[in-house]
Amino acid sequence: MLNVIEDSTVNPVEQFLRTDRMPHIWCPGCGIGTTVNSFSRALVESKVDLDSIALVSGIGCTGRVAGYVKLDSFHTTHGRAIPFATGLKLANPKLNVVVYSGDGDLSAIGGNHLIHAARRNMDLKVICVNNLIYAMTGGQTAPTTPGRATTSTNPYGTFEPAFNLPALVDAAGAVYVARWTTFHVRQLARSISEAFAKKGFSFIEVISPCPTLYQRRNKMGDGLDTMKYYKEKSKVKNGAPTGEVGLTLNGEIAVGKFVDRERPDYQTLMRAQYVESLGERYIEVTGEAEPEMECACG
Amino acid sequence: MRLTEIRIAGFGGQGVILSAVVLGKAASIYENGFATMTQNFGPEARGGACSSQLVVSDSPVLYPYTTQPDIMVIISQEAYNRFAQELKPGGLLIIEEDLVRVSNINRDKQVYAIPATRFAEELGKRMVLNSVMVGFFTAVTKLLSADAVRKAVADSVPPSFRELNLKAFEKGYAYGVDVMAAGPARRELEAVAVAEE
């Protein structure tokens, strides 16, 4: 079923939003709303059936995306969006499951799930909004905070090394890895569309400003200044070795599609194994509702 | 079938647990009584010593463990050394005679011995020694009907090994019937033990 409105007089994003929940909680200049715009654009472009999408978030500023999109959406616990999404996908393989969360949620408290989902090649589309900091809780150091940046918990500057997320998920086995900034709205939308067409673990990192906590504390200006900064510092490096795309405080931001490869996803492998071992005894999970379930309620 | 506590002990790979499962099944499913089986778990249960406890009764079993076994089936020397002292006064001890040397045992205990491993090897597969032991147990204890245990054996082993295990059961059972006709072996074994000391 295709239920996307393509009418130029309507804000293309609005149809994907719970307008009764506006205004949202995000600060002026925050990049998360921009990513939702690109996500909406991708929904239009990819023509994916909206009923088939389940969007799962963890906790944090980006975690609130689940609450604003007019989709089946789950705001789960801190760090656990990926395992929740894994359960959804296994119980109903027909779903297009999107995980939409922040860098702290996905790579710190949820880091173990991130690498294991990539290893399994679970068919999930992960959108990681990376604002380089813990924003919801007030600007603490994240595993992604570049060295020397100032945070509320590293008031003299961070000194611990940061994760290079594309390298992490590439090494763990993701089949699609891209990075853009919130300046690259069209490229981001295209990457999300490509992820929808891909079977397996896709990871799209979006470098996004937190003017209130990261930019202000590091004297990087407001939202607009950050757009200029992203424009100036970004360099498209499609296919770049992910080991070379790590971020620094004021250095180049490598963007582009770094990884796009084929590898059988978890459910394809599972099916093959069961067919081989069990033959006709294997009964595949289809995601169809049990007939009894529909008639026996009430 | 009054409340009877049984311990079966040996080492890993002898089918200790399977023996207990067969006897428990026979008691609870084919004789409509009650049976509770427990076993030792954990690192101590890997390889090495292996032991299971079986309580059978004609009323529901409450306490799941043996306190002082009425019957003990011992298939290794280590198990004998560890558990033999638990046996109830007047209790019945069944041993694999080539693997267990009886010593330090009170005269009131009845000891029955069978070369189960040798019989199993003669039948072609050492691993059926547990079915030989189960057959012997059935004849010697008369706790369960041979028919019930036979069914439980058939029901507990993979179909491809069913026939062999049933043969092993019959071998042990027949030997047990002969031994019973001759009376307990305790005195002779004790004589051996004394002679060796």
Partner: protein, 386 residues
């Protein structure tokens, strides 16, 4: 509705409690489980992993218990009946997600095969020391249901009950086994599928326009929709209104949290399964649950041989606690004797509910084995003299 015959292994079996629990889950319609290996519970999911591909479901071994306890809830919202299985240390890790299930009203079952603790404790030996954790382990106010089987047969029967209660009340149900019950092997009779009642998901029949995800119609249990059906609903662990939207006000909190509590408390009489024996004539009542109830029965039999007037109250349902039953008994009996494989957990509830009207004698045991029936007998004798 009757059980789906594909999941029902009808027949007479000689299996342990862990395996019986798995068969109960399959009979109840569980088609998804996420787990992480931990002794003495792993046999449940090992069997599930082997059986479920042939009945139209799946099992996944997750990277830890945090993942397992939330993946199962993803499975539920994807349309499956789902559960996870663990023991002490893993149960500790799952606590946040018990709260999430309670808050989001995700029907699911957490099986805890209790072993000795704290910490790594006694991996292969029994305890009943997670009883308070099952009730209060997650933060905030919420209610759960907890069942305590005392035999492999009950591991089968009550697992079905656990799933049925979970679906009826949209609540996480704790299935509180212990190592002895999990690992003991006994006869388990599995009836024909058409003899097994299963409660289907309380799925909404409302249209997409009419559907209010957390709206209720008097029975306090909202109707569910599944992902992918077009309802485009929102689920959150935040305090939420009837639309499921976050609404962090004291008024919404009060309404929501009280409903989560009342939907269970108001049905407590129906949820509380008890086994009673000679309570009418008893002077002393032994209150027990799980494996300890079997050991206690031996002590009760010995006490009756001494002509002591002893009654038995077995808590098949531990949570919600049968307050009314204990209060009623407290007004008629001298004392309660409460043996349990912990240093005093449910005994506090008995004491609270008895409210000073009858004495309470704890028979604690730190775990690692079961009571010697004589310890319980001695407490009965002492209680009879009071």
């Amino acid at each position: 509705m009757k059980a789906d015959p594909r999941g029902v292994l009808t027949g007479t079996h000689f299996i342990d409690g862990d395996h019986a629990c798995c068969e109960g889950a399959l009979a109840a319609g569980a088609r998804f489980a996420a787990g992480y290996p931990i002794t003495p519970s792993t046999e449940v999911v090992e069997r599930f992993a082997s059986r479920v591909p042939t009945v139209g479901g799946s099992f996944i071994q997750m990277e830890d218990e945090l993942a397992a306890s939330i993946a199962l809830q993803g499975g539920v919202w994807g349309g499956a009946k789902a559960f996870t299985v663990t023991s002490g240390p893993g149960f500790s890790l799952m606590m946040e997600h018990i709260g999430y299930a309670a808050m989001t009203e995700t029907p699911c079952v957490f099986v805890d095969v209790q072993r000795g603790g704290p910490s790594t404790g006694l991996p292969t030996l029994p305890a009943q020391a997670d009883m308070m954790q099952a009730r209060w382990g997650s933060h905030g106010d919420y209610e759960i249901i907890a069942l305590c089987p005392n035999s492999p047969q009950e591991c089968f029967d009550l697992t079905i009950k656990a799933f049925n209660l979970a679906e009826e009340f949209r609540v996480p149900v704790m299935f509180m086994m212990d190592e002895v019950v999990g690992h003991m092997t006994e006869k388990v009779v599995i009836p024909a599928a058409d003899q097994i009642e299963v409660v289907p998901r309380k799925h909404t029949k409302k249209s997409i326009e009419e559907y209010l995800p957390y709206g209720t119609n008097g029975d306090m249990v909202p109707e569910m929709a599944h992902a992918g059906e077009g309802y485009k609903f929102h689920v959150t662990g935040l305090t939420h209104d009837e639309r499921g939207y976050p609404n962090m006000t004291p008024a919404t909190q009060d309404k929501l949290v009280k409903r989560l509590q009342n939907k269970i408390r108001s049905a407590a009489d129906r949820i509380c399964l008890l086994e009673e024996d000679s309570l009418d004539t008893a002077e002393v009542v032994v209150v027990s649950y799980g494996i300890t109830s079997r050991v206690a029965q031996r002590a009760i039999d010995l006490a009756r041989e001494r002509r002591l007037k002893v009654g038995k109250l077995r808590l098949i349902t531990a949570w919600p606690f049968p307050d009314k039953k204990i209060a009623d008994l407290a007004s008629r009996v001298k004392a309660f004797v409460v043996p349990e494989l912990n240093l005093g957990q449910m005994v506090r509830e008995v004491e609270r509910a008895a409210n000073g009207k009858a004495k309470t004698f704890a028979v604690p045991h730190a775990g690692g084995g079961v009571h010697n029936p004589d310890e319980i007998l001695n407490a009965i004798v002492e209680a009879s003299r009071c």
